[in-house]
Amino acid sequence: MSEGILDTEHSKAIKNLLFRMADDELILGHRNSEWTGLGPILEEDIAFSSMAQDKLGHAQALYNILNSMGEKDADTLAFTRNEKNFYCCHFVEYPIRDYDFSLMRHFLFDTSEAIRFDMLTKSSLEPLANLAKKVRGELKYHTMHANIWINQLGKATDESNIRMQAALNECYPLALGIFEKSDYENILIEAGVFDGEELLQKVWTDIVSEILEKANLKIPVINESGLSTLSFGGRKGYHTEYLQPLLDEMTEVYSIDPSAEW
């Protein structure tokens, strides 16, 4: 009997991890797609559109794993939940703002995403490990893109350095919300599903620090006590004012006619 209860907690923990990851991918994918047609140069327009498409593909694959565990199909999961049932972090919800903000978010988030999937290639959850092995090759293109721009704009001119530093000052505390732990953290670690947010954050900090330093950019000093509701809460269903309007826009067609094909 106790085994049954353990199984339930175990599968709840896995689903929670998959929802957190898939929702991050879906929401940031949608945000990135808002650059389509508006990129500062054609190449960047195409880059952000491509990376958006990759992210939606990753979200879909993660929702498909949830579907195989008894949840609804990918479209229903993506288009019919309200914000209370989304588990993305606040960082991905923010509007695209200026290009410096979007670029810095892309750098900080995608670096964490690449490390996360790298860790997951050893996951005891086989479909997730297989997906991770696939996705990490694709993500090399994303981190390569981000690293080049961070390096170039960090060092190009005084203006570009100042703008990238301002973007970093704003993004860095928000990025810490990526690593907000859920109640299932220990279950996931013990079951060998995922080695945990703490380890992920440690590896991430080392990698981004090195790249930022080379780009003459300084990680801001963070007053941890001031961060609580700004950066955290997303993993528990508490979101910024930006998420529900985004969901409303994203689901507009689906809400009018769920059977529409386009």
């Binding site: 190449e43 195409i46 880059a47 990376m51 593909g57 696939k134 090759g137 694709e138 090399k140």
Partner: protein, 166 residues
């Protein structure tokens, strides 16, 4: 009892040769290395496993339908097409024939990665598919579809696309 005509894996593969990438109609799903498994049971029920080139490839649903319809032209009882990541696609899985057809279609070929990851050195060292020069520049690692990058040849002043190594 008269035996039914059994479908063979070769017959399935030769039918699948006719299912082409909707965006590069020169190459088939077999040549791209997307077909990762074929099972035929004793009642001629067929199960085909395929894996996308990129996880977000929007052509997957179209290809699933085309594969199913193509195989239904054979005297099979039923066809199921499954998409998964049990085998993870890499550009190294494109067959020699596939590489030949990609080249004919005007693409620079992906370098073999041998289970390594792509690097900036690899991406910036690409031969022009039109004139063969190596005096080329990477313009964008992202192109018109997820699987293509954009380069420019300084020797013949042509933009060209590369099928991405991944």
């Amino acid at each position: 009892m008269e035996a039914i005509a059994y479908i063979t894996e070769e017959e399935i593969l030769s039918m699948l040769q006719e299912v082409k990438d909707p965006e590069i109609p020169r190459v088939s799903v077999v040549e791209l290395g997307m077909i990762t498994g074929i099972k035929i049971d004793k009642d001629n029920r067929v199960e085909i496993k395929m894996t996308p080139t990129f996880a977000g490839c929007p052509a997957v649903d179209i290809l699933k339908t085309e594969i199913k319809n193509k195989i239904l032209e054979l005297p099979v009882v039923d066809v199921e097409v499954k998409v998964d990541f049990d085998v993870q696609w890499s550009s190294d899985m494109i067959t020699e024939e596939g590489r030949k057809h990609l080249k004919e279609a005007g693409f620079a070929l992906p370098q073999h990665l041998h289970n390594e990851f792509v690097t900036i050195d690899l991406l910036t060292n690409v031969e022009c598919p039109f004139c063969g020069s190596k005096k080329t520049r990477l313009r964008n690692p992202f192109g018109p579809t997820l699987c293509r990058a954009i380069h420019y040849c300084d020797a013949c002043s042509q933009a060209f696309e590369q099928f991405k190594p991944v």
